[in-house]
Amino acid sequence: MDTLLLARLQFATTTSIHFLFVVVTLGLVTLLVGLQTAGFLTGKPVYERLTRFWGQLYVINYVLGIATGIVMEFQFGLNWSGLSRYVGNVFGAPLAIETLVAFFLESTFLGMWIFGWHRLRRGVHLALLWGVALTAYASAFWIMVANSWLQHPVGYELRDGVAHLTDFGALLTNPTLGFAFGHVVAAALLTGGMLMAAVSAWHLIRRTPDFDLFRKSLRIGLVTAALAVTLVQGFGFAQFGPVGQVQPTKFGAGPERDALVAEWTARFGPGDYTPPALANVGLGFMILIGFTLGCVWLLLPLVWRDWVIRLRFPLWLILLAVPLPFVAVILGWIAREVGRQPWVAYGLLPTGQAVSPVGPGVMLTSLIGFSLLLGTLAVTNWVLLVRHAARGAHDPALGRPPEPETDPRPRTVFA
């Protein structure tokens, strides 16, 4: 079997799983910051309970974000050593910045936040969550800088076939960066908002205890989703302009595409320089999903006098819509990434040259092994998430107050 195909399959599988979890991380952490800050300012216990309940789901979800993220990071070196060899001088910088500026602090803060309930002062504890959120956004930003550079390499010069950094600022003003970052962040908020609304809807449908709590989070989720879906649509359509301009081969035919293909043929030899047809199929569905989810605006007026809850069918609609944002984010990335084929760095480094010269046997073992491992963990993680979501907010393990007793031995009654 072809190592290139195997390496691509592995990258696509791992990133897709990674992204299914980090959109939720990014969306939920924003909502959590709002909840905990509201609790801090108003002192109302309902906000603390909401923070603990959604925080618990957030932390469970986070596990797979880390596990898949670490595999992603290593995959560049394992399977794509050509990438680091030819463009590592430029592409590596934003990745290094991401790990130092964002991940390092994010994980340190999160560990303290999880274990800091009832131990740290409330202001410090809140500040830690703000730190987690800001660094999560920073990580999304820097990874998008790296990805946008692959979409449209800028700020470099070639010497002996190796790219060297000349203008770091150009990486930050990359035309493929701004709208894409806005679109991704808005998509994450949309996903987080939908998830919050849907879990609340389930509890309201089942008439579990805690009506007030879930009524509140239903409202928060719906409003967030509505605002976010508009941003998603705006940034989404805004992307077509700059992306179509710098990547003429992405969205279909035209004289610019033919001119570019002719230029590449002259420089890199004859070959197939158009992306697989598959790339744009998903784009249409994603846009369809974008308009479908736009209908949350129709539900907003029903929040008045709790008609969303009293009519019940809106709750079912919200519940059924939960898979949609997840499908859309994957389709969007397929459009973006498959649409730039056959290049790893558009017009600079062909995908085939970037793959590591390891044997197909090793690559296949790693593909199967990691896909099974991460796939199993992902499914297990979702099962745990669903169980904890269903268990309700009466006593999440996260933030449980310490036991008022003197026996120094740890008790098993926790969690």
Binding site: G69, I70, G77, T412
Partner: protein, 335 residues
């Protein structure tokens, strides 16, 4: 400039082995047939530090990619089996530790604990094998690529992997001696005292196999460092054993920490000025200077790292300070 970055890379990876090492050590010790409460307590001793420990690895690989892109590609793909073993281990431990207490059923928790044990063993084996693979040189061809993966399967690599497992186990037990409630610390201290000689034996065996191996002798550029640092490692372990015997767990932990950091220093110093030594072509290796990113990239990262490092270390120190001391049964537990 390259030297500073190489040192920083070493510092991050060594710190990861020290901090992640006790996570894996505690993970391995879950294999003992302890009561559920004792296993829970062991994991909560690691608790607040766990996420902050692992991230040293993420940052080390970030530095590797940003500052030494060429090395990143050849090192990771050239030592493929060791890297995927370690990586699978890291993933299993990450997921196992954080998810094990989410189900309430005791059998499910025991199942996750087995995942943590297996993951810890794999991670330690993998990192040990990676360091040994570097020490014995890789078949780097003139075109700059490493040939195949079978070069990794030697007795020296196997012994080094096992030595790393023994090291993290002793380190983990020492950490627990320091962190568990005073009443539970005595049995764990006895265990640590028994594990240290095992680690000494394993390190000794790996050293002997290394001295006997032509490839290791050929690859070592600085024989003095290659002999002195393993001796220092053994000395650190002996200090740890004495300190454990005298009821000084803090000192013992410092000593086992040194024992986990020293292998990284050993690899860096023994191969210097090379980062990768080639076993097939004398001049075919990769020097630290060649492996580094070009000037503008290093300068950019340097301006960034200077103000950032104090902040990174400061927040880690804050985490250690806030959660210092022995755990007590009343602290909220989460893992």
């Amino acid at each position: 400039m390259e030297l500073a970055w190489y040192a920083l890379l070493g510092l991050f990876f060594a710190t990861y082995l020290v901090l992640g090492g006790y996570d894996y050590g505690v993970g391995l010790l879950l294999a003992r047939r302890d009561s559920p409460a004792a296993r829970r307590a062991a994991l909560n001793a690691v608790g607040p530090f766990f996420l902050g420990n692992e991230v040293w690895l993420v940052a080390a690989v970030g530095i590797l990619f940003g500052a030494f892109p060429t090395l990143e590609g050849e090192l990771l793909s050239g030592l493929y089996p060791a890297v995927i073993g370690a990586l699978a281990g890291v993933v299993l431990v990450t997921a196992g530790v954080q998810l094990r207490s989410r189900p309430t059923a005791e059998w499910a928790r025991a199942g996750w604990d087995r995942v943590v044990v297996a993951g810890s063993a794999l991670a330690a084996l993998g990192w040990g094998a990676l360091l040994a693979g570097l020490l014995q040189g890789v078949p780097l061809r003139a075109d700059g690529h490493v040939d195949g993966v079978t070069h990794l399967f030697t007795p020296f690599v196997a012994a080094a992997g096992l030595a790393m497992v023994a090291l993290v186990a002793a380190h983990g037990a020492t950490f627990l001696t320091l962190r568990l409630p005073a009443a539970d610390a005595a049995p764990v201290a006895r265990l640590a005292r028994r594990l240290v000689p095992v680690a000494v034996t394993a390190v000794g065996a790996a050293t002997v196999l290394g001295l006997l191996s032509d490839r290791v002798r050929g690859a070592a550029q600085q024989p003095l460092a290659a002999v002195l640092l393993p001796l220092l490692l053994v000395a650190a372990l002996l200090v740890a054993r004495t300190a454990l015997g005298r009821g000084r767990p803090g000192l013992a932990f410092a000593a086992t920490s040194a024992a986990l950091a020293l292998p990284v220093a050993l690899v860096g110093a023994a191969l210097w000025p090379w980062a990768l030594v080639s076993t097939v072509e004398p001049a075919g290796g990769l020097t630290v200077a060649d492996a580094a990113a070009s000037g503008p990239t290093l300068r950019l990262l340097g301006w960034l790292a200077l103000p950032l490092l104090p902040a990174l270390l400061g927040f880690q120190a804050m985490c250690w300070w806030v959660f210092r001391g022995r755990i007590d049964g009343r602290a909220p537990v989460y893992w």
